[in-house]
Symmetry: C2
């Protein structure tokens, strides 16, 4: 038995998220059937976490156990021959038996792309949130900085029916949280030891309320204290969000 | 009656080409129904030319005649509110009555993007031809230069059932034809006074045979002289092709 670690990128636009579903195209399901075609085994690769429908990944990590003797590197190449072009295996390596894509993760980085120009190029419409309306970007930068540290993020967490008992805490540590401008794009990057369901998109929706002046940047502190989802802003669209990488 | 000139960009991936079809999503059909919703008129916008299924446009030009009094600029903005994000109106202006998107065109520029890296990023797979195999790029550059000038391009023309009697000549003038490298992409740009059906993709398929060494760059001259489609290479995939712009 070998434990195979895959690093993969995907365009989430045409998938109903990571998690396998009986009658919808998902990343996990597509990957599982490609692995099944190669090894003849019925396996369910475990990701570092689920991504929602429409969310992309630059370097998601997933593991699966196999009795196949195909060298890991060849497995990766063969998977790319079978998978649709919207999912690419960037690396396939053999990992120690105790390595687990989710449980072993120590930090994750997400990115969110907003397009600020008047007309969003059609080639970007699947990959950014088009928001051409006025925003106070300085206030948004200030608000982003206020979530750095260890906090209870309940105000930014969607109810997650899939969540296990062992994960009952909403406390997470955010190491970096910042905005940067790149021509017509306003890009948010956040790195933390873990993220609750919809957390990055809920942070985004709240930062946009700060940008609009509906909230002040300093309101972030009281929203965190409230530990109540209704205190924060709406969930931003999925298509601007990218899982950038997972650290172990 | 006003003659409206639209400049539009589109991601052709999810469309069955430009030309309206009874039971498939096309650019022309999608545009026609959006215009119909705004003006209440049944119009068929005329493009500078058709693009095939999967082919993209950075600046296609189309015209239509309307009795609507909506200012052109507002019409463009209102169309963007109705159209899918994969089609964007970049400009809408009133044009002289005699202006015709196809007949008035004096030159067109196309671009073709090849991705040469081993693994094509999933965010590019709709937008490039992934060709990671060895190619002699110098020979391809030389071959590209040999189609500059006025030639009969019958060897590079697909049979076009839609073609009118008035367009019976296969003679076209190519002003520029060149390759450039941009990191992992090899990009071909061609500007000419007109293009036959599939001509750019057939040139591409032939240049790739030169790159592989199946043909010599100097064979381009005899392929042109043959005036026979079977003398040239296969038609390259549609998804790497872009209509860059139309000159009047």
């Amino acid at each position: 038995m070998r434990n195979i670690k895959l690093t993969l990128a995907y365009d989430g636009s045409d998938f109903s998220g990571w998690q396998i579903q009986p009658s919808a195209a998902t990343i996990q399901g597509t990957l599982a059937s490609a692995i099944g075609r190669l090894t003849g085994e019925k396996v369910l690769p475990q990701g570092s976490g689920r991504t929602d429908a429409g969310v992309h990944a630059l370097a998601q990590v997933a593991t699966f156990v196999t009795e196949s003797s195909i060298p890991a590197e060849n497995l990766g190449k063969a998977l790319n021959d079978i998978l649709p072009g919207s999912i690419r295996i960037l690396e396939a390596v053999e990992a120690p038996a105790e390595f687990h894509a989710r449980k072993s993760a120590r930090a994750k980085t997400y990115r969110y792309r907003m397009y600020r120009g008047a007309i969003c190029p059609p080639f970007l419409s699947r990959y950014v949130w088009h928001h051409p309306y006025p925003l106070n970007e300085d206030a948004m930068r200030q608000a982003a900085g206020l979530v750095v540290g260890e906090y209870d993020f309940a105000s930014f967490a969607a109810v997650d029916p899939e969540r296990g008992q062992e994960e009952s805490s909403n406390v997470r540590t955010i190491f970096c949280s910042s905005w940067q401008r790149s021509e017509d794009e306003l890009i948010y990057t956040v790195r933390g030891n873990g993220f609750l369901h919809h957390m990055v998109r809920n942070l985004l929706g709240t930062f946009v309320l700060v940008g609009k002046g509906t909230l002040a940047a300093s309101d972030i502190a009281s929203i965190l204290e409230a530990r109540n989802r209704s205190a924060a802003g709406a969930t931003a669209p999925a298509n601007g969000l990218y899982l950038v990488g997972v650290e172990y």
